[in-house]
C-alpha cells in the first residue's frame, strides 16, 4: 500500500491555535475589506440632506458645547491652548476611539445574518470597522486643520507646531492597533454576553472623563498620572496636542507605554477572538 500523502488546501477542525491569524487569507479578502469600508462609509448618510456634512456637524457642536460649559462656565483651564482647539483635538481623537468601540461591539450581532450564510475571515469585520473609522478620523482632521490654520494665520495665539509632529504616524498606528485590539475583544465577547453592549455604550461616555479631553493632563498630579497613562488614548491625545500646539504634557516614556499597551491589547484581542470565532454562529 502506498501511504497516501495527500495535499489538502483546506482543513476544517474544531480548534485553531491560539495566536494564529491567517494573514494570507486576509490578503485574499482585501477587496472585501475595502468593500465593507466603502459600504459603511457611503451608506451612513444616504438619504440625508446634509450628507457627508454630518461628519463635521457633530464635532463642531460638541466643541462649542464644551467651550461654553467647561471653559466658560466651569472655568477649567486648557493649558493656555485656545479652548476651541483644545476641545476639538481631543474630540476628534476621542470620536475615533469611541466609534471603534461602539461600532465593533455590535457588528457580530448586526451581521449575524451574513455570518450565518457565508464564510470569510471574521476578522475582516473589526478590521473594516477600524479602517472606516480611521477614514472618518481623517475627514474630521480636516476640520481640525481648518480651525488650526485659522488660529495660526488670523490670531496671535501662541501655537507652536514642533518636531514631535513626526510622531503623528506613530499616534495613528497606536490608535489603529488599540482600536482593532479592543474591537476584537469587544466583538468577540458581545456575541455571548450581550450585557457588554450596554456597558460599552455608557462606559465610553464615562471613560471620556478619564482621558484628558475636557481638562489638561497637567491638572492631574504627576504621581497619579500613570493611572491615566495606562490608557493608550491618554498619551495619544496629549502628544497630539503637544505636537500641533506646543503646549501640554509630552513624555516619550508615556508614549512608549501606550505603544506597548496597545500591542498587548491587540495580542489579547487575537487570543479571545480566535477562541470565539469558530463558534460565533452557535451563540449569536
Amino acid at each position: 500500500m502506498n501511504e497516501q500523502i495527500e495535499k489538502w488546501d483546506l482543513e476544517i477542525k474544531p480548534k485553531s491555535s491560539l495566536f494564529s491569524i491567517d494573514i494570507n487569507e486576509l490578503i485574499q479578502h482585501r477587496d472585501l475589506i475595502m468593500m465593507f469600508v466603502k459600504r459603511d462609509f457611503s451608506t451612513v448618510y444616504k438619504q440625508t440632506i446634509l450628507g457627508p456634512l454630518w461628519f463635521f456637524i457633530q464635532p463642531i457642536f460638541t466643541t462649542v458645547m464644551f467651550t461654553i460649559v467647561f471653559a466658560r462656565i466651569a472655568n477649567i483651564g486648557t493649558d493656555d491652548i485656545p479652548p476651541l482647539l483644545f476641545y476639538l483635538s481631543g474630540i476628534t481623537i476621542w470620536n475615533y476611539f469611541s466609534d471603534c468601540l461602539i461600532n465593533t461591539s455590535d457588528t457580530f450581532v448586526k451581521n449575524a445574518n451574513i455570518f450565518g450564510k457565508v464564510y470569510f475571515p471574521r476578522l475582516i469585520v473589526p478590521i473594516s470597522v477600524v479602517i472606516s473609522n480611521l477614514m472618518k478620523f481623517g475627514v474630521q482632521m480636516i476640520l481640525f486643520l481648518m480651525a488650526y490654520f485659522y488660529y495660526i494665520i488670523f490670531t496671535k495665539t501662541p501655537v507652536h507646531p514642533n518636531s514631535t509632529l513626526l510622531l503623528l504616524p506613530v499616534l495613528i498606528f497606536i490608535m489603529g492597533v488599540f482600536g482593532l485590539g479592543l474591537g476584537m475583544i469587544v466583538s468577540a465577547l458581545t456575541t455571548k454576553y450581550r450585557d457588554l453592549k450596554f456597558l460599552i455604550t455608557f462606559g465610553v461616555q464615562l471613560l471620556m472623563y478619564a482621558v484628558p479631553i475636557i481638562y489638561p493632563l497637567s491638572y492631574v498630579s504627576p504621581k497619579k498620572r500613570w493611572i491615566m497613562e495606562l490608557n493608550p488614548m491618554t498619551s495619544v491625545i496629549e502628544t497630539f496636542k503637544y505636537s500641533f500646539i506646543g503646549k501640554g504634557t509630552f513624555s516619550i516614556n508615556a508614549l512608549a507605554i501606550s505603544f506597548i499597551a496597545s500591542i498587548i491589547i491587540l495580542l489579547l484581542g487575537t487570543l479571545i477572538f480566535n477562541k470565539v470565532e469558530k463558534r460565533f454562529m452557535d451563540t449569536v
Binding site: 459600504r39 451608506t43 444616504k46 450564510k117
Partner: protein, 430 residues
C-alpha cells in the same frame, strides 16, 4: 477522479434551550472543572439527535460521527427530514461553524450558497451590491468586473443597476443574488435550497446553470433540497441523513426511495389502520387492506418483473349505505405524482350501490411501469366527486429491471419516464 472532500468523524454538539442568561456562570463552572482536570460537567455524551424524543440533557448531537468522501465532479444530493442535520453539515463544510470533533479536508475553494443575496445592503445600488455580494462570496474585484455584464444579463436587471436594491421587487433581488453566485469560480460549491424562489422561467434558468456548473469543468457540488425532482435531475449521488447520522449513501434514486419510504408501516404491509389520520373522510366507508399479486398467484408481493401485469385487491368496509360510489385506484410515485388513474365509472356509470358490510374489490394493472418504486393511491367518491375516503401511498411496490423474458430486461442505466409504450415505431424514408 480524485477525492476533493474528505470528512472524518465529524460531530457537532448543540446546546438546547436558552443561551444567554446563566452562560457566564456556566462558563466559569466549566473553566473550573477544566482547571481541576475534570470532565466538562455540561457535556452528557451519547444522546442522539431526535427532535421528537425529549432528552434529559441540555445538549444534543446534531451530527454524530459523519464519515464520507466526495469525488471531483460529483454532484452529491443531501436529503433528510427537517432536523436530520443537513444544514449543520452544510454549515460545517462552509466554515460557518466549527465541528465539535473531527476533521474535514478539501481541495480548492469552497463557496457556499446557503441564501440568495447574502449581505445585500438596501441602500446600495444593484451595481454596488453585485460587487459587495461577490466579495462576500469570495470573489476578487477584478473577477467580478470581468463578469459584471454577464451577471446583469443573467439576472435580467439591466435597467435597474443604478437603483438602490430596496426599490427592487423581491423577485428581482433573488435573480440578482443568484446571478452573482452562479458566476462564482469555486472548485466546490455548497448549495442549500435556494432554487425554490423566483418564477418558473428563472427556476429553469437556475437549474440549467447548476447543471452547467457541475458538468463543465468538473466542479463539485453539494446540494441540499427537499425537492426530490430537482435532486433527482441534478445529482449523481445521494446521501440520506437521519437523526444526525448517515442512513444511506449511494446512487440518487435509491437514496430518494429510501428517504421517501421512511418508516411507513402501512405502505409496507398494505394494512390500512382504522385510526389513520385522514384528511378527507365522511365516515361512510373505509379501505382496510391493499394487496398486490402476480396474476394467477396467491401470495402478496411488492416486487414485480418489468413488463408484467399484476392484480390489485382491496378490502372496503362500508359503514353507511352508499348509493353512488366511485372507486378510484391510482399508481403514483412516492412524492405524490400520480401516473396511472383507474376508476369504476366505466362499469358503474351511475355509481356502485353498497350496503353495510365488507367488500373485496379486484382489478388488473396492465400498464407497463418502468423500473422504479411506486405506490398505490386509493380514493372513494360519490358520483358528484365528493370525497368519501382518500388514502395517500397505501402500498409501496417496486418494478424490477429484470423481466420474465430475458430479452426484455431493462438494459438502460437511466430511467426516462414512468410508463412504457410498447407500440411499434414505423420509419419511412421521405
Amino acid at each position: 477522479m480524485s477525492t476533493v472532500i474528505k470528512v472524518q468523524d465529524i460531530s457537532k454538539l448543540y446546546q438546547l434551550g436558552q443561551i444567554g442568561s446563566g452562560t457566564l456562570s456556566r462558563d466559569l463552572n466549566r473553566w473550573w472543572a477544566k482547571v481541576r482536570g475534570k470532565e466538562d460537567p455540561f457535556l452528557k455524551v451519547g444522546e442522539v439527535n431526535n427532535r421528537a424524543v425529549k432528552g434529559n440533557s441540555e445538549f444534543i448531537w446534531s451530527l454524530k460521527d459523519i464519515n464520507f468522501e466526495v469525488q471531483q465532479g460529483e454532484v452529491l444530493g443531501i436529503i433528510g427530514k427537517n432536523g436530520a442535520g443537513k444544514s449543520t453539515l452544510l454549515k460545517i463544510l462552509s466554515r460557518i461553524t466549527a465541528p465539535t470533533t473531527g476533521v474535514v479536508n478539501a481541495k480548492g475553494r469552497i463557496a457556499s450558497l446557503l441564501e440568495v443575496g447574502t449581505g445585500f445592503h438596501p441602500d446600495l445600488t444593484g451595481k454596488e451590491n453585485i460587487y459587495l455580494n461577490g466579495a462576500i462570496l469570495g470573489m476578487r474585484k477584478a473577477e467580478i468586473k470581468r463578469k459584471f455584464d454577464e451577471i446583469v444579463d443573467f439576472a435580467g436587471v439591466a435597467r435597474y443597476v443604478d437603483t438602490p436594491v430596496k426599490r427592487y421587487s423581491s423577485g428581482m433581488m433573488v435573480r440578482l443574488g443568484f446571478a452573482v453566485a452562479a458566476y462564482l469560480e469555486a472548485e466546490i460549491l455548497v448549495v442549500d435550497e435556494v432554487l425554490a424562489v423566483g418564477d418558473a422561467e428563472f427556476q429553469n434558468k437556475a437549474v440549467g446553470k447548476m447543471h452547467d456548473i457541475s458538468s463543465e469543468g468538473g466542479r463539485t457540488v453539494l446540494f441540499v433540497s427537499h425537492n426530490m425532482s430537482s435532486v433527482k435531475s441534478l445529482c449523481t449521488r445521494g446521501m440520506l441523513l437521519k437523526h444526525g447520522g448517515i442512513d444511506f449513501m449511494g446512487d440518487v434514486s435509491t437514496t430518494i426511495d429510501k428517504y421517501l419510504t421512511g418508516d411507513n408501516d402501512m405502505a409496507d404491509s398494505g394494512i390500512i389502520p382504522i385510526d389513520l389520520p385522514r384528511e378527507f373522510w365522511t365516515g361512510e366507508a373505509r379501505y382496510l387492506k391493499v394487496a398486490l399479486k402476480e396474476i394467477s398467484k396467491e401470495e402478496n408481493k411488492n416486487e414485480f418483473y418489468y413488463r408484467s401485469s399484476f392484480i390489485v385487491e382491496l378490502e372496503l368496509e362500508v359503514l353507511k349505505e352508499i348509493n353512488d360510489a366511485v372507486i378510484q385506484i391510482m399508481v403514483g410515485t412516492f412524492d405524490g405524482v400520480r401516473i396511472v388513474y383507474h376508476d369504476s365509472s366505466k362499469e358503474y356509470p351511475k355509481g356502485v350501490k353498497f350496503k353495510q358490510g365488507k367488500y373485496k374489490i379486484k382489478t388488473f394493472i396492465n400498464e407497463h411501469m418502468l423500473p422504479g418504486s411506486y405506490s398505490i393511491y386509493l380514493g372513494l367518491t360519490h358520483t358528484d366527486r365528493k370525497t368519501i375516503e382518500w388514502i395517500d401511498r397505501a402500498y409501496d411496490f417496486h418494478i424490477l429491471r429484470t423481466s420474465y423474458n430475458p430479452d426484455e430486461h431493462y438494459r438502460w442505466r437511466n430511467v426516462w419516464g414512468y410508463v412504457l409504450n410498447d407500440e411499434p415505431i414505423e420509419i419511412k424514408a421521405l
